[in-house]
C-alpha cells in the first residue's frame, strides 16, 4: 500500500508505504511501515522507495571529486574543510609528487591555510575522517578562477542528465567548470564576465532545481546576457 504520489513533497515521519517494499535513500522501515527521514520528494522505482532530499549536508563517498579549503596544518598533513560533518585529511604524499623531508621543510610552503584544492576522496567510513588525494589528472591546487558554494543536494541538477546542463554551460560560455560533489563549483574562464555569467546561471539552477525545462531557461538566460554584453555568440 503506497501513501504518496510520485514526486510528492514529504516531511520527516511521513508514512510512505506499508507492506512489501524496500527502503532506499532517506527512508526507514519500522514493522513493515516505511517512513521518510528528511524533507524531500518521494519516489517509487522497482519496489524501492527513495526520498530525494531538498536539504542536507554532504556525506563523503570514496571516489567523489570535491573542492576543499585548507583550514589547518599539521606536520605531515593538511586539514581540509569539505563541507561535510567531518574534516578531511590530505597527507603530504598524496599532494606532492616528490618525497619531502617534513623535518627540514614546512609543508606550509606548498599549501597554506585558506587555499583551495580540488581533490578526490580516497577513504571514508564514518569511524575515521575522510582522506583526500590530488595525485590524478585535473586535481590539485586551485590558482585562478571563481569558486562558489551551492546546496550539496542541488549538485545532480547542475550536472544534469548525463551532463547535459554542465556541457551546455561549458559550450555556451567557454569556461571550464568543475563541480565538486560537496556543492562547491570552480569556474575558470578567459575573462571575468564569463565567470560572472556562469555564477548567475548556477544560482538560477540552484533556486529552480526541481522544475522542468530548466536547461532551456538557463540557455535563454545566457544568450540574453551575451546580447546585452554586446558579444556575438559565434565568438567562442
Amino acid at each position: 500500500m503506497i501513501y504518496f504520489s510520485q514526486r510528492q513533497i514529504v516531511v520527516p515521519g511521513y508514512m510512505l508505504a506499508e507492506g512489501n517494499y524496500e527502503a532506499g535513500r532517506n527512508v526507514y522501515k519500522e514493522e513493515n511501515r516505511f517512513y521518510a527521514t528528511v524533507i524531500g520528494l518521494a519516489e517509487l522505482k522497482d519496489k524501492i522507495i527513495n526520498v530525494i532530499p531538498l536539504r542536507g549536508c554532504y556525506i563523503p563517498s570514496v571516489g567523489d571529486v570535491v573542492i576543499g579549503k585548507v583550514i589547518d596544518i599539521t606536520t605531515t598533513a593538511w586539514i581540509v574543510d569539505i563541507r561535510s560533518p567531518w574534516n578531511a585529511f590530505l597527507f603530504v604524499k598524496d599532494f606532492l609528487s616528490k618525497p619531502l623531508n617534513v623535518i627540514k621543510e614546512d609543508i606550509r610552503n606548498y599549501l597554506d591555510i585558506g587555499e583551495l584544492i580540488i581533490a578526490k576522496v580516497t577513504s571514508f567510513d564514518r569511524t575515521k575522517n575522510p582522506t583526500l588525494t590530488t595525485k590524478e589528472h585535473g586535481l590539485g591546487k586551485i590558482e585562478r578562477g571563481t569558486v562558489i558554494e551551492v546546496d550539496p543536494t542541488r549538485v545532480p541538477r547542475i550536472i544534469g542528465k548525463k551532463g547535459s546542463m554542465i556541457n551546455m554551460l561549458k559550450k555556451e560560455t567557454g569556461c571550464q567548470i568543475h563541480v565538486g560533489q560537496n556543492g562547491r563549483v570552480w569556474i575558470s574562464g578567459k575573462n571575468r564576465e564569463d565567470e560572472i555569467l556562469v555564477v548567475e546561471a548556477i544560482k538560477k539552477i540552484e533556486s529552480e532545481a526541481h522544475t522542468t525545462g530548466l536547461t532551456d531557461r538557463v540557455y535563454n538566460l545566457i544568450t540574453k546576457r551575451r546580447v546585452s554584453n554586446g558579444k556575438e555568440k559565434t565568438n567562442i
Binding site: V11, G13, Y28, T37, V38, I39, L54, R55, P85, T153
Partner: protein, 241 residues
Amino acid sequence: MERKKLISDDGRRLDGRRFDEIRPIKFKIGILKNADGSAYIELGKTKVIVGVYGPRELHPKHLAVPDRCIIQARYHMAPFSVKERKSPAPSRREIELSKVIREALEPAIFVELFPRTTIDIFAEVIQADGSTRCAAISAASLALADAGIPMRDLVASIAVAKVDNQLVLDVMDEEDKYGLSDMPIAMMPSKNVITLLQMDGMLTCEEFKKSLELAKKGCMEIYKKQKEALESYFKNIKEEK
C-alpha cells in the same frame, strides 16, 4: 490575597478560548541565512526563534562520542522577553530547559549516522507568554528538518494546566502563574511516542490521564501546522520562477 478568576462562568478562559483550544499558531522556516536550518514560531504572544547548526566537528574534541553525534541545545530568554528585564546570563531555569529540550529532540534524530560530531540548537525566546519550552521544541524540530538532518518524526509539543479545577490546553502566562498544575508534553505524533513529560503541582491519576489525552490532541494540531508550514515553504522553493 484573593485568587484571580481564570475561567469565567460560561467556561471561557482569559483570552476567550475554550478549555481545549490552542492559541493561534504561526510558523516561519528558513529565516536565518547563517544557520544551516532555522525556524520561527508564534504561539499566541509567545515568540521563539531557533537556529540549528551541523552536524559539524565538535570542539573540544574530548566531548565527542565515538558512535553517535551529540546534541547541544541552548534555550535562552532575551532580556526584553518578559515584563521586567531578565538578566541575559543563563539562569538555573534556562540551563534546565536546555537539557529538557535536548532530551525531547534526541529520540527523533538519527544520531548514529554522524559519529563524533555535534548538532547545535539555539532557541532564543523573543517574547514569553507561557509554554516557551513547548514553542521552542516545536520550532526546533522544524529547524532540524530545514537543516536536512534525518529524523524519525517531527516533534510537537504543548502544555496542559489545571486552573480553577479545570484542565486547559496550551497554557498562557497567567494560567501558568496562578494555576494549580502545569504539564508540558512533547511527542512524535505519527509514532505516538512521548519524548518529554514534566509536571508541576498536583493532579489525581484520573486528571493525569485526561491531561495526557488533551495534550495528545493538542500535539496533533501543532503537528498538522508544522507539516503545513514545511510543505508550503518547500513548495515555494520548488516552484520559484
